[in-house]
């Protein structure tokens, strides 16, 4: 049993698996979850944003967090999903709409998001600004990604 003693409020998140890691994405930022659709490659684009997809008439970029976090991208399986996110970007009044690849989407749940200061910097090989925090869920560590930095 985990005791909730910190008194922090919980946030509703979508829990998804990428490689061996669990990621928690703020549910408010998730516009929809799709089965994979065909991707159009954008030659010359950075590796973590290899292409664009058509989401109901809009052309949106597809980002691969696995590449961004230095994992090996596995081939799509029956569990693979695309999440369409709306991310507020600095200096842009309208949010950026982007898709991300998830190896598996588990569930929507409430977790406590720790403050960024509470995230230990040692023991993590990822660029610090891409991680907003590390949370705990059912005894596992969960990465809370910072999309504003990741999608820049």
């Amino acid at each position: 049993m985990m005791a909730s003693v910190s008194g922090q409020s919980t946030t509703r998140v979508v829990m998804l698996g990428l490689g061996d890691e669990l990621f928690a994405v703020d549910a408010a930022a998730v516009r929809e979850i799709l089965d994979p659709v065909p991707v159009t490659r954008v030659p010359g684009a950075r590796d973590f944003a290899p292409g664009v997809i058509n989401v109901r008439g809009s052309v949106i970029p597809l980002a691969d967090l696995r590449v961004r976090f230095g994992m090996t991208a596995a081939a799509a399986t029956a569990d693979t999903r695309f999440l369409v996110l709306e991310i507020a970007m600095e200096g842009d009044p309208s949010p950026m709409v982007a898709g991300i690849v998830a190896d598996k989407v588990y569930e929507v749940t409430e977790i406590e998001i720790p403050s960024p200061d509470a995230t230990p910097r040692v023991g993590m090989s990822w660029p610090a600004d891409m991680v907003a925090g590390i949370a705990l869920w059912k005894g596992d560590f969960v990465v809370v990604p910072n999309f504003t930095a990741i999608l820049n």
Binding site: V37, P38, T40, R41, V42, P43, G44, A45, R46, D47, F48, A49, V52, I53, N54, R56, G57, S58, V59, I60, P61, A63, V67, R68, G70, M89, D92, S94, M96, V97, A98, L151
Partner: protein, 667 residues
């Protein structure tokens, strides 16, 4: 999703009003005798003041107040505004704009200077408001004091629009001696009373030497929504102490007869303004974009339906599919039409520019516009503003001669700048013509040689010399005047126009003037493209850039390890293998094609695997995640629902595209 921010709404409305005010002032400058223009200017100022105060823009309200007073004076005195007054009022308009934009960042010194100018002018024109008001139309002595009985009843929600009935009563008091009695007969029971509503009416006994219209003017902004009876009292005696109860007074037969004639004078005017406003709806551009997305989606789904129907060979299904095809094409056209705006909205802005330029440079000129009704995509109209400002500035500054030079050349003293727009085929041509000295080719050549853009003595045709005007770095040195302003050069003008898939042409005749013509596609949202295949990817090349398509000769193909040139009917055309450029590694097929594209003066052949055909579609922009990929200007959605990228020919031909293969980021 979108909170309606009242302050933002005020800003938007104020911007429109200021625009309207500016146009009115300029019209007034041309035609000072037009009374309706003075009225219109006054109304615009009054509304800005009123709504400014309501939304907390107190400095705007305070500042505008004096201008309102000045124009009220003009309205009442029947005097004509002097050019100097218009000038000050235009400066005032700018100041109001600045105040609304950024009140804290605006130095009050400017406002004070403008106001002191205004007071000085008013001091000359009319030492006293009331004197002036009665001076021309109704000399004080000629008009005996008349006693009026007024009954005022406002709409219950009158305060919602910022009207304060008490202030209006104060204004009435300013006209003459008044006795005001409240009429409480319409007060609802206490339980039903909404404190924000006004249920009190007033009965006013007013003795004034001002005409009846002065009384009506007090209520000019609420006249539509109120009951106002103005009855001239039979006894023109000076105000008698009036302590009789109101109902008794209102009951005299003479009064009732008079009261039966309501005030209607101002109604037709107000109605015609309402018509103007009622015919348009303000919609956020973003919503239009979303509509376009949906329509684009519909067109794609419809294409799939048509395909299916065609395969099924079922007449009933085909009939429905064709019907839907027709409907969706109509819907697409209508949706496109929503984005179209008459270019006149843009032209109107330049009147002020030309007016100011003419004054600053001491070049009297006539500014003629035509084709205001020509429609163009809204985004393009906005993007066209800066280039046009620059071209018009150039025409006035460099194109037109000073009056003495003009006279010496046997021309009229007044120069002519003609701004016109018209539809030609699927293009809109916007041109700026001056009747000045024309381009001085020798001077252009000298300057280009001086700046190292042209080898001294090298042969250059007239059109080549004219093109030098648009070379980066050209023509900047001399222009460090107040006019050159934003540092926009002609090269930027050209870039902006070409970014809209347009072209700019120049024609000129010595001594007769020059014409800059911008040729633009009707809309940015739709593109005619050539669909090609490179490896497994499909790409769209804008058709406007395509010159021809040829077969890649096997010898040229093999030889190209050392040099990548084609011989196209004697001309040397470099070519670019899109397979290589896009980092495709597998070997190409047998019959590669070359699409020869042009951008500006240069031509380049793009080697593709297959030409799939012609494709007309809606352009989608790429996100900022792909903003660093220079080779593409956008994307489009194909009939099968897959996105295809649109090549940015300018970038490819200019070689400005970054190398598009290899890992640039080791994330």
């Amino acid at each position: 999703m979108h909170e309606l921010d009242p302050v933002a709404t005020f800003r938007q409305e104020a911007a429109d009003l200021l625009e309207e005010l500016e146009q009115t002032l300029l019209d007034l400058n041309a035609n000072p005798a037009a009374r309706d223009l003075i009225d219109a200017a006054f109304r615009a100022m009054h509304t800005i003041k009123g709504s400014g105060a309501m939304f907390g823009f107190t400095d705007v309200a305070t500042f505008t107040h004096d201008f309102e007073t000045a124009f009220d004076l003009l309205r009442k005195s029947g005097a004509q505004p002097s050019p100097r007054l218009i000038e000050v009022a235009l400066a005032g308009t700018d100041h109001i704009r600045a105040l609304i934009e950024d009140s804290a960042g605006t130095d009050p010194v400017f406002g004070d200077a403008i106001l002191s100018d205004l007071r000085e002018l008013l001091g000359q024109a009319a030492p006293d408001l009331h004197d002036a008001a009665s001076a021309t139309r109704e000399p004080v002595s000629a008009r005996p004091a008349v006693r009026y009985g007024l009954t005022l009843r406002f709409a219950p929600d009158v305060t919602v629009n910022g009207t304060n009935p008490l202030l209006l009563l104060d204004e009435l008091r300013g006209l003459g001696d008044c006795v005001v009695e409240p009429l409480l007969d319409r007060l609802p029971p206490l339980g039903e009373l909404d404190v924000a509503e006004c249920h009190v009416g007033w009965r006013v006994d007013l003795t004034t030497d001002k005409p009846r219209s002065a009384i009506e003017d007090v209520f000019m902004f609420v006249l539509d929504d109120m009951e106002l009876d103005i009855a001239e009292q039979s006894d023109a005696s000076p105000l008698a102490p009036n302590i009789a109860p109101a109902p008794a007074r209102a009951a005299t037969p003479a009064e009732r007869a008079d009261a039966a004639e309501p005030v209607v004078a101002a109604v037709p005017e107000v109605a015609s303004r309402a018509d103007d406003r009622g015919s348009t709806v303000r919609v956020q551009a973003e919503r239009l974009d979303r509509l376009m997305d949906r329509v684009g989606e519909l067109v794609i789904a419809q294409a799939r339906l048509s395909q299916l129907a065609h395969n099924r060979r079922e007449p009933a299904l085909q009939a429905v599919a064709e019907e839907i095809e027709r409907l969706s094409a109509g819907l697409r056209d209508t949706a496109m039409g929503l984005r179209m705006m008459p270019i006149g909205t843009l032209f109107a802005r330049f009147r002020r520019l030309v007016h100011d330029l003419s004054g600053e440079l001491g070049k009297p000129l006539e500014f003629v516009t035509s084709g205001e009704e020509t429609e163009l995509d809204k985004t393009m109209i906005e993007r066209l503003a800066d280039p046009l400002v620059h071209v018009i500035r150039n025409a006035v500054d460099h194109g037109l001669e000073t009056p003495d030079v003009r006279l010496a050349a046997g021309k009229g003293e007044t120069g002519l700048i003609r701004l016109s727009a018209r539809h030609i085929g699927a293009e809109v041509h916007v041109s700026v013509r001056d009747d000045g000295r024309g381009l001085d080719l020798a001077r252009i050549r000298a300057k280009a040689e001086e700046q190292g853009l042209l080898t001294p003595g090298a042969p250059a045709s007239e059109s080549e010399l004219v093109q030098l005007l648009f070379a980066p770095g050209f023509s900047t040195a001399r222009e460090v005047s107040a006019l050159s302003g934003r540092g926009v050069g002609m090269d930027v003008v050209k870039q902006t126009i070409e970014a809209m898939r347009g072209h700019i042409d120049v024609t000129s005749a010595p001594g007769q003037g020059s014409t800059f013509t911008m040729r633009l596609p009707l809309t940015l949202a739709i593109i005619e493209g050539l669909l090609v295949r490179v490896a497994n990817g499909r790409y769209v090349i804008p058709l406007s850039a395509v010159e021809e398509c040829i077969e890649l000769d096997r010898r040229d193909d093999q030889r190209s390890a050392g040099r990548s040139f084609l011989n196209v009917r004697g001309a040397l055309v470099p070519f670019l293998r899109l397979r290589e450029a896009f980092g495709e590694t597998d070997a190409p097929g047998e019959h590669q094609k070359v699409v020869v594209v042009a951008a500006g003066q240069s031509r380049v052949g793009l080697v593709v695997d297959q030409i799939l055909g012609h494709h007309q579609t809606v352009i989608k922009s790429l996100s900022r995640l792909h903003a660093d990929v220079g080779a593409f200007s956008g994307a489009t959605i194909m009939g099968d629902g897959l996105p295809a990228l649109i090549l940015d020919v300018g970038q490819l031909v200019g070689g400005r595209a970054r190398p598009v293969h290899g890992d640039r980021e080791a994330a």
